[in-house]
């Protein structure tokens, strides 16, 4: 089954698409898999748990195929193309109707890099399969709004929060204002705009190791912007960027906590 969702449709997409999607969705309860990402699996399980809790609350059960490992983004962005990791992703997730990923950069890598990696290895068949699996892979905010058709998940989070739209989510995936629409509907939240919000935090995977001085200069400006908002919590849809900014904030003891979008959306007045 293939979901009829207009991928690049702006928030006001055609009604026909919406109706079609809803029909497909309702007709057969989708089998949806969670791709936790290697980083969340290894270091930030709370983002994964929150994604599961949130989607279960919305009536969408998730499966977590244990054969999954990593999408290969870290390798690819460092110059190492690993067709085996692409093949693993495709093999593991091909049977599902949709795959939800709590990371803009991993979803971006799956949709935009997997085919290139397969082609570089002269594996056209894998490229074709990767494209199909990529087309049903959704970043969390896309899944909520485009597939489950909700921008109000009934969350409660009475804190001052600022949101950093990660580079790959806005520029590679084009999630637009989806995360902000979701956050705006959270009860009790005080959402403050992050100055120069669309500027990169300087992480860039191995960029932070290969060019530490430039990376640190970018991070310093991002932290200054975060602190200027007076927020208690910095939120983003990607734990990798948050690991970077959070690592910097922790070092200077800024007292700002970092939370994944899923963690805020999973939060309710009865606890998460």
């Amino acid at each position: 089954m293939h979901l009829a969702v207009a991928r690049d449709a702006p928030p006001g997409r055609k009604d026909a698409d919406l109706v079609q999607t809803r029909r497909v969705y309702d007709a057969a309860r989708m089998r949806v898999a969670l791709f936790s990402t290697c980083l969340v699996d290894a270091l930030f399980p709370d983002a994964g748990k929150a994604t599961v809790a949130l989607l279960e609350r919305l009536g969408q059960p998730l499966e977590f195929p244990l054969e999954q490992t990593c999408c290969g983004q870290m390798h690819a962005n460092s110059g190492y193309f690993e067709p085996n990791l692409v093949r693993r992703y495709v093999d593991v997730f091909e049977p599902y109707d949709a795959i939800v990923v709590p990371s803009g950069s991993c979803a971006g890598a799956i949709r935009h890099q997997h085919q290139m990696i397969a082609r570089a290895a002269h594996d056209e068949e894998l490229a074709t399969r990767a494209e199909a699996v990529g087309n049903k892979t959704y970043e969390l905010s896309e899944f909520l709004i485009d597939v489950l058709h909700t921008d109000d998940v009934g969350a409660y989070f009475p804190h001052r929060v600022t949101y950093h739209p990660t580079c790959h989510s806005i520029r590679m995936l084009g999630v637009g204002d989806r995360p902000l629409r979701l956050l705006n509907n959270v009860r009790g939240i005080e959402l403050v705009t992050l100055p120069n919000h669309d500027e990169c935090c300087g992480f860039g995977g191995t960029f932070s190791i290969k060019n530490p001085d430039v990376s640190a200069a970018m991070l310093a400006d991002k932290m200054e912007a975060v602190i200027e908002t007076g927020a208690e919590v910095l939120c983003a849809g990607d734990r990798s960027c948050l690991m970077h900014i959070g690592g910097g904030l922790e070092r200077i003891r800024a007292g700002v906590k970092t939370l994944h979008l899923a963690e805020i959306l999973a939060s309710t007045d009865t606890g998460t």
Binding site: T69, N77, S78, G79, L85, M116, P212, V214, A217
Partner: protein
Amino acid sequence: MTTTGELIWNDEGWPGPDFAHNAKRAVGNSQLRRNVRKATTTIRERRAGLVAETPDWQELRHAGAAIKDDVLHHLDRYLEQFEHAATAKGAHVHWARNAQEATQTVTNIVKATGHHEVIKVKSMATQEIGLVKALETQGITAHETDLAEMIIQLSHDRPSHIVVPALHRNRAEIRRIFSDHMPDAPKHLTDDPHELAEAARRHLRRLFLKTKVAVSGANFAIAETGGLLVAESEGNGRMCLTLPETLISVVGIEKLIPTFRDLEVFLQLLPRSSTGERMNPYNSIWTGVTENDGPQEIHIVLLDNGRTNALKDQIGRQALRCIRCAACLNVCPVYERTGGHAYGGTYPGPIGAILTPLLAGVDKAPELPFASSLCGACYEVCPVEIDIPTVLVKLRHDAVKAKPHRTQDATFAAAAQAMSGRRRWTAALKLAPLLRAVKHGAPPPLSRWTRTRDLPDPPHQPFRDWWTQNKK
């Protein structure tokens, strides 16, 4: 000098494209960071305003990319068409495979005129082949007439931006450069921009009136008519293109557009993207020789210098769509903090990080594709939709394949191995608690992280263990 001329600066004082090294120095220079940030922010905001008022901007970008792709797919045909058309209009067309052939051709033409001085229009192609230096070794003095290029030339500096080459200089520095190096500078020059501009104007006017040979590049070469176009802001280009007796233009073979009509697209894209203007103050188009009007001897040197190499790269070839607007530099968070010199070659910024390795060979500049956080701001503003992040990743792949890095190769191979199956991955996850010991200070190369950031606290258990215990 290498056969690629000035694409990469390998001479003394310029350690070439060792980006991390160059960037470290640049980041430490707070005056430079302020200068660059101020200039790029101004142009960036002007551009954004103009793009917002252009309702068909995205369609224009598609059109620009499509026209250039057509040219690149049929380059052989368009080049011959251009040569025939230009020759029919009285121009002499020359072909140059590399920097050396191009500089030799230009030198020969200038020598044949019997003159020893030329005036120059700002041009990336002549920069790339190192023309000014090459002419100098043959006893020919080339005067840059673009104000910023003149500042660079007078101070024996190098450009740091494609459109605003002296962006790293402030006006106090410029006053000093004029006073020290401009022979006819007024005695008591101040920092006043008008006064500085007037001094430059008087200096240049004398050159325009006496010099009989000019050298230019071209923004566009029109295959249909054999015409060339130069877009500029100061009018110095117009002077160079009309007053001398001989005009020599060095044009990269990717500068072609099929028809005159295609300018409709590019003359909307270029000024908005480059200087943040609706129109360039001067658009000069000349087509061969016009009898008794302007230069009576017209030469065009069509330059390859690595372009056909770039064309072979299926993913990288889109870089040849570039119209040198520098919009990608102005939005790049890396460029903003390092300035252009850190890229160690003619083309700085995101476009330089892909163009230099594509033209010169990735083995000559293996670090440049890594000079980016892959944030994608460059792609978003590119008027011809060059997917710079994707090309960067592809070139990283080429760089890694071209030269072994023992430790790094082994680390990534080990990680791939650990991720190659469920059992191995589950075993690898057990190593996470080791992070605790190095949270505030890890050994190299992770020390480059912990110098300014903490590492995360390892979790109580990996996500999959929680899943297996609670959900399965």
